[in-house]
């Protein structure tokens, strides 16, 4: 059980390069999908909503990690690309009655186009300058969506959509929303895992590690940088579209600069350059405010404070802890939760004979 590599002899290259080369890992992967599918049986509606939020965040975080973690291009505009996907899906659904399964990739595709457009500066600039350029993307996209009446017709640039129907199913409860989001998220996860071990993924990593060397061994840097922007924005667009279907509303306020920062925090805390790490980060950042509320509320009740009195305090405390966590992870464990998870696994792999 613990010495799971025992007796596994790879005889083909395919077997060696599989996502999960060890049978036990394969069973574990299938098992965890099974657990996810059966999750609604044990959780109530409120807990289900939390799981949904985590999965939504994970899709966006995986996308950002492909760009930042694997290709090494800093982006502060992820929220804006999600906004593009969100509005695309909302417009297609509300005005043209496009079905869910078509509007979702459309949201991704439009976001990818916009992402490539704002990725063009990455051909000339990198690092700090790119971070600043994507910061501009965030503001420009936000302004354009807000100020063009064709896109944001309606009060406060908000588009409402009716309850979505997926293959004849009306998505009106948390449980059904879960089954709407989960397949998309699983595809996104497996897709990312496959992407990063493919030729394209290796090119991304080469660009990140040393762009000059990558160019010399024949990686077309411009192409792969733009491709990374496209893929990452596609993920962002799909995540944004899923948000729209989840909340039945498209609003720019869900995708501000703060959102971009939050997603960056997810991949930093989760682990840069790791797909599973993005999921860890998404879960962590989603749970953080909720756990904080429980803890602070509990201790406040202990000292006899009312919740209303500490609401402000709580919001500020959240910001402080959020920022502190980013700083601490960067300073102490730059590889994030994924590294910690790996440490635990390594320890138990040879346990109890680790020496």
């Amino acid at each position: 059980m613990i010495n799971r590599e025992c007796g596994v002899y790879q005889t083909t290259y395919e077997g060696d390069m599989a996502i999960y080369p060890v049978p036990l890992a394969r069973y574990a992967a299938v098992g965890s999908i099974g657990v996810l599918v059966l999750l609604p049986l044990v959780l109530d509606s409120h807990q289900m909503a939390l799981v949904n939020l985590m999965i939504l965040a994970a899709v966006g975080a995986i996308g950002l990690n492909i760009l930042v973690g694997y290709t090494g291009q800093v982006s502060l505009g992820h929220g804006a690309f999600m906004m593009v996907g969100s509005y695309t899906a909302a417009i297609l659904t509300a005005r043209y009655d496009v079905p869910f399964w078509l509007a979702l990739p459309c949201g991704g595709a439009v976001a990818a186009l916009v992402g490539v457009f704002f990725g063009i500066p990455s051909l000339r600039i990198k690092g700090l300058y790119l971070a600043i350029a994507t910061l501009a993307a965030q503001f420009i996209i936000e302004w354009v969506i807000n100020h063009s009446t064709w896109i944001s017709a309606g009060a406060q640039a908000t588009i409402y959509i009716s309850t979505p129907t997926v293959f004849g199913w009306e998505i009106n409860t948390e449980f059904r929303r879960f089954y709407m989001i989960l397949p998309a998220a699983v595809i996104a996860y497996v897709g990312a895992l496959n992407l990063v071990r493919s030729r394209v993924g290796r090119a991304f990593i080469a660009v990140r590690d040393r762009d000059v060397a990558a160019e010399i061994i024949g990686v077309n840097i411009f192409k792969y940088k733009l491709l990374a922007f496209a893929v990452s924005s596609f993920y962002a667009g799909v995540a944004g579209a899923l948000w729209t279907y989840y909340l039945k509303i498209a609003n720019y306020e869900h995708f501000t600069l703060g959102t971009s920062v939050q997603y960056l925090a997810m991949i930093i805390i989760g682990g840069l350059g790791s797909v599973l790490g993005s999921v860890f980060g998404a879960v962590f950042i989603t749970l953080l405010p909720i756990v904080l509320v429980y803890v602070v509320e509990g201790s406040a009740r202990l000292f006899g404070f009312e919740y209303a009195a500490i609401a402000d305090f709580l919001a500020n405390l959240r910001l402080i802890i959020f920022g502190t966590l980013i700083i601490l992870f960067l300073a102490i464990e730059p590889e994030g939760l994924y590294r910690l998870w790996g440490n635990v696994r390594r320890y138990f792999r040879l346990w109890p004979f680790s020496y």
Partner: protein
């Protein structure tokens, strides 16, 4: 013509206030090659400290100003020592993110200590605008412009003549070589953060007087990016020129374009300019050109 002149001159005045913040930003970048996304938050912090002393505790300006400046210098030192030193030599993403994390902490901290409501700073400066020909100029803008000018001259002297300034330039140029000739690089880093804190403190007072102090004050920090990119990230005169330019352009554009698009040109045009500048001339007007072929 009067309309244009009014917009232009007032834009320049606002621009000089951008320049004041941009100076601190450029200083940090020049000496430590850290892009400080928390510069706006430093300004906000300075504003809060000033507002707390002047409006909440009713201290006289002669006491409040030195206390503000000293506490901003300490804050700058503390930030460098506590947050940025462990990250020396890390990659760009880490350094950018750590300043963003710092920004979040500052936002939360300021709102927690001083509350979320807007506090006004009242300075002993007259409120009615001066009228010159057809142009109205409010006195606080003049004060800001004078302060920016003084800072600019001061920085120019500092970098050219003073021992510390030359050491800073040496560190910016080549850290290892600077270390080899006996410059205390750590102290230079700390000092540049301290000076940036000082500039941010003064910026906080001026901006806080104009906008009122709350956590939104930090947003002016984001406006500084277009200014420094246009001027050149590592150039002190560039920061001033960029600030003036952004101030003038956004003011004129807002005056003429806003009625057609329903507002917000101010928050949009500087970033478009910045993207264009990044594509054509990423090192800005005065920045050091880094040639790299990839």
């Amino acid at each position: 013509m009067g309309f244009f002149a009014d917009l232009f001159v007032n834009g320049l005045m606002i621009g000089s206030m951008y320049a004041l913040i941009a100076l601190g930003f450029v200083l940090i970048y020049k000496a430590t090659s850290v892009v400080n996304f928390a510069q706006g938050e430093l300004v906000m912090f300075g504003g809060y400290i000033a507002a707390a002393m002047l409006s909440l505790y009713h201290l006289p300006l002669a006491v409040a100003l030195p206390v503000l400046l000293v506490s901003m210098v300490i804050l700058g030192f503390a930030v460098e020592r506590g947050v940025l030193r462990p990250l020396v030599g890390q990659n760009v993403i880490s350094v950018v993110m750590v300043t963003i994390g710092l920004a979040q902490v500052f936002q939360g901290l300021a709102a927690m200590v001083w509350g979320a409501q807007t506090i006004n700073i009242s300075l002993p400066i007259r409120l009615e605008p001066y009228q010159i020909w057809e142009v109205y100029i409010s006195p606080i803008n003049v004060v800001a412009a004078v302060i920016s000018g003084v800072f600019l001259v001061g920085f120019a002297w500092f970098f050219r003549k003073s021992r510390m300034g030359v050491a800073m330039r040496a560190v910016a140029n080549d850290q290892q070589a600077a270390m080899a000739v006996g410059i205390n690089v750590r102290f230079v880093f700390a000092a540049s953060w301290a000076i940036a804190g000082l500039a941010a403190g003064i910026g906080g007072v001026v901006w806080g007087n104009m906008l009122g102090v709350d956590t939104h004050l930090a947003l002016v920090g984001l406006k500084v990016f277009p200014a420094v990119i246009l001027g050149g990230l590592d150039s002190v005169p560039g920061a001033v020129v960029g600030g003036l330019l952004i101030g003038a352009i956004e003011s004129v554009a807002a005056g003429y374009v806003d009625p057609y698009v329903g507002g917000g040109t101010k928050d949009f045009l500087p970033y478009v300019l910045m993207i264009v500048a990044l594509l054509i001339r990423p090192y800005g007007f005065f920045g050091r050109e880094i040639i790299e072929r990839v």
